[in-house]
Structures are given as C-alpha cells and as structure tokens.
Subunit: 424 residues, 2 copies
Amino acid sequence: MPSFGLFTDLYELTMAQVYLKENKTGRAVFSLFVRKLPQNRNFLVSCGLETLLELLENFRFSDEDLLYLKSLGKFSEEFLDFLKEFEFKGSLYAIPEGRVIFQNEPIIQIEADLPTAQILETLVINTIHHQTLIASKAVRCKLASKDKKVVDFGLRRAHSLEGGLWASRACYIAGFDGTSNLMAGKVYGIPVVGTMAHSFVMIFPSEEEAFRAFAKVYPENTIFLIDTYDTLEGAKKVVSLWKEGIRAVGVRIDSGDIQNIAREVRRILDEEGLKEVKIFVSGGLDEVDIDKLLSQDVPVDAFGVGTKVVTSSDSPYLDMAYKLVEYEGKPKVKKSPGKETFPYKRQVYRLYEGSVAKMDKVVKFRDRSEGEPLVEKVLEDGRLLKNLGSVKEARERLLEDLSKLPEDLKKLKKASYRVEILRY
Amino acid sequence: MPSFGLFTDLYELTMAQVYLKENKTGRAVFSLFVRKLPQNRNFLVSCGLETLLELLENFRFSDEDLLYLKSLGKFSEEFLDFLKEFEFKGSLYAIPEGRVIFQNEPIIQIEADLPTAQILETLVINTIHHQTLIASKAVRCKLASKDKKVVDFGLRRAHSLEGGLWASRACYIAGFDGTSNLMAGKVYGIPVVGTMAHSFVMIFPSEEEAFRAFAKVYPENTIFLIDTYDTLEGAKKVVSLWKEGIRAVGVRIDSGDIQNIAREVRRILDEEGLKEVKIFVSGGLDEVDIDKLLSQDVPVDAFGVGTKVVTSSDSPYLDMAYKLVEYEGKPKVKKSPGKETFPYKRQVYRLYEGSVAKMDKVVKFRDRSEGEPLVEKVLEDGRLLKNLGSVKEARERLLEDLSKLPEDLKKLKKASYRVEILRY
C-alpha cells in the first residue's frame, strides 16, 4: 500500500506542529457535517465510510514523504519524528453508509489528540464528501426511475479514475442495478453491464453485419445500439434479425428526441411481436429527464446514466465542513458569519410516527432521547469495533430508510424535513 | 505499480473480443475532442497528457484482473490471453499540455490496431477530460485575478484524492501560484502554501494567543486568519502584535461581506502603517467573485480558491468524446443527431495576424497549411518520441498562448473564436 499521508493540506501539518510545541495535545472532537442541503436535494445519503477507514489505515508518512516535508524548511526533526510514527489511534463515530441524512447531522466524528484529529481533516472531508455527494444525486435517479432499471456509465467523465471508482460504489449503494466500470465490479462486486459503442457499428460494412457479429459472440442478453445512422431503420434491422433467430433482449438509443423515437421504436418492435425486447436509453440523462420520460409514459425499460450523476452536475459539491466541536471536554464554537457551528460530540435521534420518519433531533452524544440513534462508534483506540458490512448491506439500509421517508421528500420537487439541533 | 486495465467500461472489452474474432484488427484512429465549449468558457486549456502517458504505461491486466474477467463468463481463453499480453504499442498524437484549444480540435489521437485503440477509450477520456476541465476553469480565475496571486485550496472538496491531485496539477498549469495540497507539492513540485484554520484559533484561550503561538514557530511569512470571531477586532490584534515586533506578512479573511470587510481591514492596517501587510481572501470564490472584487478596487492581494475551481462547479464536465475517425485508411463518421463526427486523423493549424491568433484550421494530418501546427506525434510503436517537459513548461506554454489570444477571449464575457474544420 502506498502512503497516503501527503493527501493533506499543508496547514494541517503546520498547525499540528504548533499544537505539539504548545502542548495542545488534549482530546479533541471534530465533526463532519453538511451545513445546508443543495437546492435540489431533499435529503442526502451517507456514503464513503468504508473507503475512509481503508485510507485511514494506510494514512502514514513514508521516508520519502518525510524527506519532502523536510525540504519545505518548516518542520522540526521532532515533528517529523511524530509524523514518522503517525498512526490513527483515536475513536471514530459515524452514521453508517446508506442512511438518509440531513443538514447539521454529524456524519463522521473524530475523537483523538488534537494534532491527530486536525491532520485528518482533508482526508475525512475528501472521502466522505465525494461519495455522499454522488449517492445523494444517484438516489434521485433511482427514485425517478421507479421500477425501471438504472445503471451507471459514468467512469469516463468522472473526476479521475479513483473518482470514477468511488462514484460507481456510491451509485450502487444508492440503488443502481449495475455499472459499466470493471474496476468497481472487481473491487466492490457490483454487477457489470454494457452494450456496444457507435464505433463498433461503424467498423462493419453495415449496421446489420455489426449486429450479427456481436450476437455471434454474445448470443445471450444481447442489446443492440440502434442510433448510429438512423434509429428507426436500426429498429427494423433488429426485427429482421429476430425473424432469423437472432434474438436481442434489448435495443439502446443514445441520441435524438428520445421521447418520440422511443415510442416509434416500441411501435416497430411491437408490430412484429417483439414485445419482450426492452428499450434502453442513455445519453446525458439525469433524474429530471428520467422523471419526464416516465411521467409521459414513454416506453423505456432501463436507463444508462453517466456524466450528470458521477459529477453531480447540478450541484457538484456539498457545503460540508469538518469542525472542532469539543476540546478537553469543553464546547467549541465558531462564530464566523454564516458559518456557525454547534458544540459537542453529538448523537442524532430519528423520531418516527408509525413507520414514517417525522424529525431528527441532534443532541449531545450522552443525552438520551426517544427515537432511533443514527450515530455508531466505529473505531476505538484505532481498532474497528464492528464489521461494517458490504456495499450490499449499505444498499439495503438505504432501501429501508427510503421506505420510511415521507413521500414528498422522495419526489424531485423541493420538500424539507425537520432537524432540531439542541443548543447547550 | 498496480494494474490499471480494469479502469475500463465493460463494453470496450466485449467489443474488442468481437473485433479479434472477426479479424477487425486493422489500423484504427480514434480522436478525442470536445464537441462544444461550455457556456462560460471562451477557450479550453489542454491538460493531462503526462498523466495519461504514465497510466498508459501501466495499463495492464494482472492475473487477478484476468480471474475477475474470467468470472464474468463473457470472455474466451484466447481473449484473456490477448489481455494478459496487453501493452500499448501504437502511436499517440497530442496537442501538448498548456495549449489554448477549442471545440472539435483533436486533443489526443490514438492510432493502433482496432481492439487496442477501442480498449483505451475510457482511460483516455477520463484522464484528459478531468484535467482539461479543471485547467479551463482555473485559467479564468488566473485571468480575473490579474497581477494578484491565486492559490488552490481545493483538495478537500475535489472528487476523490486522485481527483484532488490532478486538479492541483491542472490549476498549476493554468497559472496558479501554489497549492495547499502536499501530495501535489511532492509529485509535481508545485509550491505549497497554507495559513491556519479556524479550529486553530479556537483552541487557544484567545485569538491573540493563537497568533502568538503560531508566529513563534513560523516567524516568517506568517499569515493570520482574522475572521474566527470578529474580523475587524482580529485586524486590530494584528496591529498590536506588529507593534510588539510580531510582523505578519498577511491576514486572511474567509467569510462575510468581503468587499466591505476587506476595505475596513485595509484601513485599520494602513492607519497604523502596516501597508505592507497583504490581504488574502478565500471562501467559496471563483472567477466571477474575483473579477467583481477587483473591478470595484477592493484591496485584495491574493485569492485562495478551492471548491468551485476543483469541481469546475459552473460546468462540471465537458462534452468530450473519443470517436473512431479512420479505419484501415478509410474515413469513418458517425451521423447520430447532434453528435456528428469528422473523419480522418487531423492536424490543427493556428493562424496568426501579427502576434494575435486569428483562427484555427483543422485539416487532414498530412495536409499542409499555413500557420502553426498544434498536434505533435508523442508515441510511436508505444515509445516516447520526445521529452514532454515538466508542468512548469506546460505553464509557460499557456502563458505564451494567452499572450497571443485575442483580448475578448480572455474576459469572462462570452466571446468566440473561429475554428474551421475542413470537410473531405
């Protein structure tokens, strides 16, 4: 494993060095939360914890890293020795992956000596921010697509390869049915899917020959991409191949006026009795497009989404912060305008009315409340306290939470949920 | 080095297997280009080539990868053997990093046997898309900031750690003066910068004590963060410390109404003769904010930008595609509505009037034209033909290009540039 220590902002280390010099090494609690939900999100989905824990385990400074840091001329030998020995031995509290969460709820809380907790800021924000961002976008696509399938084709336009891997993971936790990303298939066991590209069709003398060649190698679950030249003509070729015994399970349309074309394609297929051939659409789609197509009863059976989901394009970041909330048992608050924080390590209680979530209460960690506590202690003295479960379990957790969420929150239209933060 | 082969969409491999079966292994050319510039971009900055070449060198399938692929039940032993031996032995043509580019210009062209060129699609798009996206956003911040300094603080909200590393690289090529990202400092030699966080100030009994403790360890180039409690009071503390001999080089303001507060802070500092103390601002800024502050003569000396730049928030993706343009010497075109492509391997000639770029002509690679050719052959038979130079050289290339760009393109307001694509 490479060392990840340098994935850190310089100031984390300069501050940590001062803390050590000034003996500010008491127990600190930092809390990671989202200040405000983006305009188009009624809730968020917590995601990224397993990734964070893996990186945290390998968050070290190699000799080469230390040489680099030394070259900056800012760090004492004593501090470099501290970094050489760096290893996370603190506690970590988290809302498990796949939970529905809201503003001001502590997704991650790190409790450790102050220099250590400070140094981890960049890593903690980076890993949780990204996957929470993507899962919170992807779940909207999943909800909009109702009982239809949705798969992720986003790797190519994700921000970096790692960004693509994490995005596929987040989409799967959000309920997607598969991914085109082979690395995500291997690493996380996500079902992989794929059809063919326009280049494939173009290589053969004719569209029909391209389809034939493909079906010869993959006689099962074949999906033909039919919009390389003329989509309706493409659909007709699928019909004539069918009559010869080359039976596609679906056709994919990746361009044009999907609403009208899908209807025409459906008509062509149905007229010839190919009712079981599914229509799969892709090409710059997001939850708004999916919702529009389905609300107009456009005959689409599955959606391939990519770019807009893996970049969370309508809101490519969350207003997420990692803030000191407690030091040596004392409350800490920041008062900068618009950026106030709430002190103390916290627990979130979710209150239900029947089986429907009604409100969340964010209270001091040790305070009892009615409702379901969301925050769990995950690491103690750097050791894992419980098995986190697979991505599949996170996915099921989300399904469960969605089943208890007020209906209006699950629609694309803005709706809000009550989160009460106790002030002390 | 880990194997990167699985950072690929499934369909690249399923298609490649058919190509091999059907003996479609002739020389193919794929071209990577942006179909259309985003609304708020007058030009793009080519970026990511060095990253692509490094990954390409390690784009292999490990035994473990092959076992995973085998488990999918889609691939023959013969094809898995092909992947086992996979190594890029083709040619790569590129517009070097740091060049100003426009729509429909071939940033990367891959010439190789068809299965190989197809398999690389996802990798090529992912690496070049992301860095070109970020550099094209960052250069706007740099231009808006005129002679002021701009640094990147974006790692925490970049999409993944690798996304953060690449983003810092792209920002530096775009002309940024530094980064907070230590990994980027180590890997690319980018100057690293940083101040202090609010948590640091909050840990000490008073703001003043925090400043003192920091200056004791870092007596040089000290920048105090003054907005944790009350910004103007913070500025006054900087003045009183100055009188004791604790001489800050700057103050940072990270919140509030920067326009008014920066003026007030400047007044407080100037009244006491601290004219040399710089004002550094940060907090959700992008080029529009920078332009507004400077056009109103707000006394700011340096900008820290992060989230909005490293996510290219106003346009988090480019309409970038990797398309087959030639096969066995014959032109290939796609006719899907709105997604037409232009056939043949291409060269871009930039025509100047005096020292100002006037238009680009995109012609067949072997066709001669007046003007400066932008596309270079970088790899032949998989071997590097020339040293690519450092990020510093890419940065200088951009500076040179910017000096020759029509003035209206360098403003934030929409302006366009003529790109002529020869049709054959």
